[in-house]
């Protein structure tokens, strides 16, 4: 079995490929005859000065290219519905993070089973660089589903987990959610994807995916992850 890098990115990638194949086929079916007609039926003085006035239309053809696209898009939408259901159904046993957006950063709270906050990380606004201090990285376990509850303190933001190809808005007064799972340890980008003002392009975070045992130690042990990382050299 091939190794899956991240969810729901896996299904998203498949859906993109399905769309791409359909789009390329429709493109070819439309553009190739179009180009061929442009080449073939040119105006030639004395020979071809006027187009065919007999065919004003053809009901059969017109019905055909109404019904076939209807079927294609309905099938695509139904497929998308099926994928969407997986994207929105959080697997059992997910770790829950409560993320609150503000201008311009994130507050991340790690919740236990009862919904109590175990640990909190707040990112600071850095208007010029994309460096992140070690203690501000959002640490999550590899290979485990993560549920993110989202809200905002001020304006609307959006939490985009780039490796998982999923986003959801953080709206003040509402709690929205998304879930993801990344199987390969490493550092990944998180961006704000809903326009939120001057600092929008610097409202980001670094997601640090570590092996589960290391995560448990980090969650209990405070902020000495930097040292541990250096020791284990992942």
């Amino acid at each position: 079995m091939e190794e899956v890098f991240a969810y729901p990115a896996k299904w998203w990638n498949e859906a993109v490929i399905v769309w791409l194949v359909v789009a390329v086929v429709i493109y070819a079916v439309t553009a190739i005859p179009g180009l061929y007609f442009i080449m073939k039926y040119r105006f030639k003085p004395g020979e071809r000065e006027i187009g065919d006035h007999e065919k004003h239309g053809h009901w059969g053809l017109e019905v055909l290219w109404t019904i076939v696209p209807t079927i294609i898009v309905l099938v695509l939408a139904t497929y998308s519905f099926a994928v969407f259901k997986k994207q929105r159904t959080v697997p059992e046993g997910a770790l829950t993070l409560k993320v609150t957006g503000f201008m311009w950063g994130w507050q991340v709270e790690y919740l236990d089973d009862k919904g109590n906050t175990v640990k909190t990380i707040v990112t600071s606004y850095n208007p010029t660089s994309y460096e992140v201090p070690e203690e501000q990285k959002i640490v999550v376990p590899a290979g485990k589903p993560i549920k993110v509850l989202l809200t905002s303190m001020d304006v609307i933001h959006a939490f985009y987990v780039m490796p998982a190809r999923i986003l959801e808005d953080a709206v003040p007064g509402r709690i929205t959610y998304l879930w993801f799972q990344i199987n390969k340890p490493g550092e990944y980008w998180v961006f704000c994807r809903e326009f939120c003002g001057t600092g929008h392009s610097h409202m980001f975070a670094k997601l640090k995916v570590v092996p589960p045992e290391q995560f448990t130690a980090w969650l209990k042990g405070g902020t000495d992850l930097a040292k541990k990382t250096a020791d284990k050299n992942i």
Partner: protein, 537 residues
Amino acid sequence: MREAVSVPWFSAGLKEWIFTTDHKKIGILYFVTGLVAFIIAGIFGLIIRFEQNSPGFQVVSPSFYNYLLTGHGAVMLLWWAIGAHIGGFGNFLLPLMIGAKDVAFPRLNALSYWAFFGATVIVLLTLIPGNQIKMMWTGYPPYATHPDAGVTAFYVFAIHLLGVSSIATAVNFITTYIRMRAPGIGFWNTNLYIHSLIVANVLQLIGVPSLGGAVTMLFLDKYLGTNFFNPSLGGDPLLYQNVFWFYSHPAVYVMIIPIFGFFSEILATFSRKPIFGYKSMVFAIWGIAVVSFIVWMHHMFTSGIPDWARVLMSYTTVLVAVPTGVKIFNWVATLHRGAIILRSPMLYTLGGIFMFLIGGLTGIPNALVAIDLGIHDSLSVVGHFHYVLGMALTMGIFGAVIYWFPKITGRMYPENLGKISFWLVFIGANVLYFPQLLAGFLGMPRRYPDYPPIAEWVALNQISTIGALILAVGVLVFLVGMIKGLTSGEKAEDNPWKSPSLEWRTSSPAPVDNFGEKPPKLEEDYHPYKYGAPPTF
């Protein structure tokens, strides 16, 4: 009462321009205003492109960048994609194509223009430092009510004035079409451009009040302390998004459907044959209009609305592909067994249809909710709507300018400049927007002046910049062609393209009273696409 004016536009004085109620002069005023706005917003776009060319802040500050984005978006959409061609070409062509003397309410028409002009003044005032608006053309609260967003009042009042203008124009055009057609013009032999124009104005009439309501609530919230969108006092920011997109999604069809009309007119003329499937074309535009009002939530797929609403709107949205597909297939079928002449308006039309095809196909992933969850608010959305609303629309307008240039000015647009500008615009646009589609699928968010140095993003953005420069040169060549055509263009015949359509049956440039005292006499079996004699050019 003012005397009926008998001065044609090219010898009209300033007083006549200000007080005119002539649909042709008002059309020219609209178009020129829209074109100036297009040039300014285009320069904004270029600065945006240079800023995004590489990571870091090189050209402008992030706050000024947000002003540029807001200005570019609002002006391109509301001035260029609505004002310039609905106000401009719609005014000029509607009475000519249906054989009327003027629109139904000429003075209301003048009011429409001057309201549009007032909005233009307001939007130009934002160029003054301190007046800048930075809430994006969508103006989402709570950000739009936040001090960081700038002077929201300018945004609200510009939209109110444009709304007055649009509603008056819509009432005017719809009445004109219903009441003032020359004898012999019925529903089934009206030009497709007129059908498109009427559909667009019906959408305006139904939709604009909704937008007016949205921005009025925004104004009340920001300046008078109401709480429509303030969640801490019982409001809801998503209310704005619903009310805003209820108009602003149909608005994209207001923008593009008349362009489809241009495509149909030009395609038929330069294929020398009737448009294929005329009736299904009419059904298709009305079909798009109806569906357009039940798809707005696809702009809110990630906003936290219930999942069932997202799926429902995903289904309705993909249905838009059906009537637009019918139109594209009918255009391709029109080419079949034609006698195709590749003059520059035809090149622009074929190029515009090509751009729309790519734009349409890249719109599908935005409609499919599962894919949208990964590309919402990414650069690929920017690429998508610049294919459809950006370039298909601009190429449609450029083609229309060259095609109706003889009827408007009495001179021909220089063909060589038309061809050169077409190739520059076409190549430039594809080099500019295709990389944006890719960057979005690779995760790059939109509205980012700065971004981390991710190699693929940087490379794609730099290719885009090259495309933007080519496109800018193309637009410049097109504008030079307009000036050259106006000043030293070849004198035009009354019907240079040998089109059977009604607007070509009066002299060039169109005289003040259009067809003289009496409505034009039409043959029994008049149809705008019945081509006879070959053209002489």
